[in-house]
């Protein structure tokens, strides 16, 4: 079992889906010849031809709306939005149509479209290239929203998203693109809708997704040195959310801290807190806290490290809940 980066794992997932299902298409800006600005679609146009893997004009609303139309015609489009903020011009098509089409048509016209979005920060990018829009999508009923945190899981989640009968927003944590993992790209992997405990612990549950999972694991390591035994839960799937695994974990630890890069206010962390409070209230030893990006526009590159949740900020929150 060789090590793969997340970029390679995603590339392999696309390749196998294209190979196994002749209805699968890959489209987006620069996904063809260039192989995507992050090389996730590297070599796919060469291998599957310009009808299965093609560049679109520079128009995100069209990428989403045309993908929906392609799905109506029986295709399975996997569309790439080049960067997080550039998925915003497509929000109308995603919210008003992609999320609602199966409902509107009473199942006559399902739209199994996957929209891949390299998201979040930590790579020193320019403005509009480090956004964390997951809450916008998670609040939109009719969409599924998944966020891998490691290469192997990214592979399985993407395969499942492409096979999924519903539209899936697939958020790829840029800062983890070049992270490596040893693992098995065959077999099933955990299904959409299931969270996973990456580190069992007894004192407090750290809930995270995407790039913040690695940060949470670092924090757990550091905490161990202080005799704090933290459990780390990787949500993987924001919608549907694995309420059982979340509740089971927090009932055991009695404490939880949620971590994400997106701004605090009305971020997905609030949903996690609300669910934990509803399902685990009598087990809670302390308030459920959130460690997130601040309520500010994403900072310029030289300042982003003050914005992103750090091990120190996570530990600070953990200390507040464990010493409650």
């Amino acid at each position: 079992m060789a090590e793969v980066t997340m970029v390679r794992a995603l590339n392999e997932a696309l390749r196998r889906s294209l190979a196994e299902d002749p209805r699968t298409l890959v489209l987006g800006e620069d996904v063809g010849r260039l192989g995507g600005v992050f090389r996730v679609t590297d070599g796919l146009q060469e291998e599957f031809g310009p009808e299965r893997v093609f560049d679109t004009p520079l128009a995100e609303s069209a990428i989403a709306g045309v993908s929906l139309g392609l799905a109506l015609a029986g295709w399975r489009p996997v569309a790439e939005m080049q960067f997080d903020a550039f998925s915003y011009p497509a929000l109308d098509q995603v919210i008003s149509h992609l999320a609602k089409y199966r409902f509107r048509s009473r199942g006559h016209q399902p739209v199994p479209v996957v929209i891949r979005i390299p998201f979040a920060g930590g790579i020193g990018a320019a403005e509009h290239h480090s956004e964390s829009p997951e809450a916008y999508y998670a609040h939109t009923a009719g969409l599924k929203v998944v966020v891998p945190s490691t290469p192997v899981d990214a592979y399985h989640l993407l395969r499942q998203s492409i096979a999924d009968p519903d539209p899936v927003i697939f958020l790829e944590p840029k800062s983890r693109y070049w992270s490596k993992e040893e693992g098995d790209l065959d077999g099933q992997g955990l299904p959409i809708g299931r969270a996973r405990v990456l580190r069992p612990g007894t004192d407090c549950t750290l809930v995270a997704y995407g790039a913040m999972v690695a940060r949470a694991l670092q924090a757990a390591e550091a905490a161990a040195a202080r005799d704090l035994d933290l459990e780390v839960l990787d949500l993987r799937s924001l919608v549907p959310l694995d309420l059982e695994t979340l509740a089971e974990s927090v009932r055991r630890t009695g404490r939880a801290v949620v971590v994400h890069e997106a701004p605090l206010t009305a971020g997905f962390g609030a949903e996690v807190v609300a669910r934990v409070v509803e399902d685990c209230f009598e087990y809670l030893e302390a308030p459920v806290l959130r460690v997130t990006g601040w309520d500010i526009p994403y900072p310029p590159a030289t300042l982003e490290r003050y914005h992103l949740p750090s091990v120190a900020r996570i530990l600070d929150a953990v200390e507040r809940v464990t010493s409650w």
């Binding site: 298409l25 009808e51 679109t56 004009p57 128009a59 609303s61 069209a62 989403a64 709306g65 045309v66 993908s67 929906l68 139309g69 392609l70 799905a71 109506l72 015609a73 029986g74 295709w75 011009p89 109308d92 098509q93 008003s96 149509h97 609602k100 199966r102 409902f103 509107r104 048509s105 009473r106 199942g107 006559h108 016209q109 399902p110 009923a141 009719g142 599924k144 009968p165 519903d166 809708g193 549907p240 959310l241 309420l243 059982e244």
Partner: protein, 366 residues
């Protein structure tokens, strides 16, 4: 016919038409039509049924049987002429004002009107059955779906085209532009059919665009045609040619059918606030049914008996649709949860059970 071969030259002659407003035919163009006498009569019948059904729908709304309804009166020729020019294998993506096109495609109008009754979004029909999509409220948004579908059909080497209806106001939206450009670059078989009815609710055409809509095709490199939208034969001829160009040459066409919305924007609108009765009168004088009926009669293609027969059929038809609409109960609450995802996720199952419980306890307070 010059227009159809070189539509970009439309400008020189004003809108293409086969029957003049007075009902005088262009014999040359007529000859090219290749429509049987039955078909020529059928076009009238479809317009008459549409007119009658449209009035019935407005009445149904006034009586509280529909939540809202956007009348199409005045646009019968634009809708019937264009829809009739398509093959059944072609696809149609409507906006929200195309009851006439739905009728021509064979959609059950009771099931169509369920959108306006608030029974279900998209009504209750299967879009695939007659290749007629669902009402799209967000203006111009459906243009992209039509382009995507056409691109998909092209990838499948299917010999079909996709016709998408939208209004004059829709041409100001980014989605209209992105769709036209996308179709042009990919050679997607699309007919962009604009019912230029002179108004976008209260905004007149000249506040929407500084040029006639057909000329916008120039920005994409495919033909643009302006046609008299109140001449059913002209609309039929232009659309048939545009559809052929889409299927055979993979060349999209932008058709501007110049017509007029004789009614309010919707049953919720009061058009007297923004336009004059004289203007409406001028257009009433160009009624698409009158024009065509006059020609059919003068050409000896239809007599009083025929027109009376159509009248009776239309009345009976409208009655049947009305009865069907009025008799329809709302959907059970479970349906709200059934179609969100292919399978019901746990969190939604919990919510459905609650919703059903409260509905069962007779809670209609929401």
């Amino acid at each position: 016919m010059a227009t159809l071969a070189r539509p970009e030259r439309t400008e020189d002659r004003g809108p293409f038409r086969i029957l003049s407003p007075e009902g005088q035919p262009s014999e040359e163009a007529l000859a090219e039509l290749e429509l049987s006498e039955d078909q020529l009569r059928e076009l009238y019948r479809l317009m008459a049924l549409t007119r009658r059904m449209d009035l019935e729908a407005t009445a149904l709304q006034r009586q509280g049987e529909l939540a809202v309804y956007p009348p199409l009166i005045g646009q019968e020729a634009a809708q019937v002429g264009s829809a009739y020019a398509l093959e059944s294998s072609d696809w149609v993506f409507p906006s929200y004002r195309e009851l006439g096109a739905a009728l021509v495609r064979g959609v059950d109008l009771v099931e169509y009107l369920h959108f306006y009754r608030g029974t279900w979004h998209g009504g209750t029909y299967d879009a695939n059955a007659h290749r007629f999509g669902y009402v799209a409220a967000p203006v111009a948004s459906q243009v992209l779906h039509a382009v995507g579908f056409a691109l998909g059909a092209r990838l499948d080497r299917l010999p079909l085209c996709v016709l998408v209806y939208f209004g004059d106001g829709a041409t100001s939206e980014g989605d209209f532009h992105e769709g036209c450009n996308f179709a042009a670059v990919f050679g997607a078989p699309v007919v962009f059919f604009c019912q230029s009815n002179q108004w976008a609710i209260s905004v007149p055409l000249e506040r929407q665009t500084a040029v006639p809509i057909w000329r916008k095709a120039e920005a994409y490199g495919f033909p643009g045609v302006q046609v008299d939208g109140n001449d059913v034969l002209g609309v039929y001829a232009v659309t048939r040619e545009a559809a052929r160009r889409a299927r055979e040459d993979r060349t999209p066409t932008l058709v501007e059918a110049v017509t007029y919305r004789l009614g309010p924007h919707s049953t919720a609108d009061d058009a007297t606030r923004y336009r004059s009765e004289q203007e409406v009168e001028r257009w009433r004088a160009r009624d698409p049914l009158d024009r065509y009926r006059r020609w059919l009669a003068e050409a000896g293609l239809a007599d009083e008996a025929f027109f009376q027969g159509v009248e009776e059929e239309a009345r009976a038809f409208a009655g049947r649709v009305r009865a069907g609409v009025v008799a329809s109960p709302p959907q059970p609450v479970e349906e709200l949860f059934r179609w969100v995802y292919a399978d019901l996720p746990e969190h939604l199952r919990r919510q459905r059970d609650q919703a059903v419980r409260f509905a069962g306890e007779g809670d209609h307070g929401g």
